[in-house]
Symmetry: C2
Subunit: 155 residues, 2 copies
């Protein structure tokens, strides 16, 4: 099939992408681990053009992101009926390991209050996933390719 | 941190893995697409040591799986509270594109009745994801590495 399945990006598509990110509490992170894709759950706190995650040395994604910071993050939970009829977005991201500042902890804990129990542990790292591009699927026939600038609030 | 975070696989771990797979209606599929991990949602029907998915030529994962059948599938949905306190499993899988038989369609539709609308379309393909291994995370401190044989019901 050679038909281009993507619609032109418009205000509505950008608003849906923003809403998916702002309402997300977790996502499925795909990293490359010794050549293989590996998908794990991460809890997250949304930012404007990125999301914050808190990851542990005990999880395989942490070493994988240190070795190779480019990754993919699926956000958006299905409701009832056909799981594919519900909107979701695949973000291509680049990870940066951050300093353990008070401000950052506050911002993360505002979205993930239960993480208070372990955010202070030495094995847990705060990582920013900066959005490089996105593949928005709003349901059948509603696919869009978004660039990094489509995620800015001022867009 | 050099501590091995994995517990020895026992009956309880195998039962949790089975229950996650049997109750799953969708998962996050990670494929390798021109060298990058890409995570998308798939609807699924569980089998004993594999899961069936129905994927479209319009979605990027379909061409990616044809080019490179090894992939990763995250299964298990979080409930309330900390998203990381809820059980999930990362399956490493290998994809096989299947013949379009009546039996297979029945089995898939038993789990995904809404797919009746499009399972007959030429652009939709039935694919078996055979389980090669699994990384079970039952919540904090409850991680297990499972081999292919741990997924057999007779185990």
């Amino acid at each position: 099939m050679t038909k281009d399945p993507f619609n032109p990006v418009d205000t509505e598509a950008r608003a849906l992408a923003r809403s998916l990110i702002e309402n997300a509490r977790h996502g499925a992170l795909g990293v490359l681990d010794t050549g293989e894709p590996v998908v794990t759950r991460v809890a997250l706190a949304p930012e404007e053009t990125s999301v914050l995650i808190l990851i542990s040395d005990l999880a395989p994604h942490t070493a994988a992101l240190r070795a190779r910071p480019k990754a993919s993050l699926l956000i958006g939970e299905p409701g009832k009926g056909d799981p594919l009829a519900h909107p979701r977005i695949t973000l291509q991201v680049e990870a940066t390991f951050l300093e353990k500042t008070e401000n950052l902890a506050k911002r993360y804990l505002a979205h993930q209050p239960k993480a208070q129990l372990y955010i202070g542990f030495a094995a847990f790292h705060r990582v920013r996933l900066s959005i490089l591009s996105g593949l928005l699927n709003g349901g059948f026939g509603k696919a869009y390719k978004l660039g990094a600038s489509d995620f800015s609030i001022s867009t």
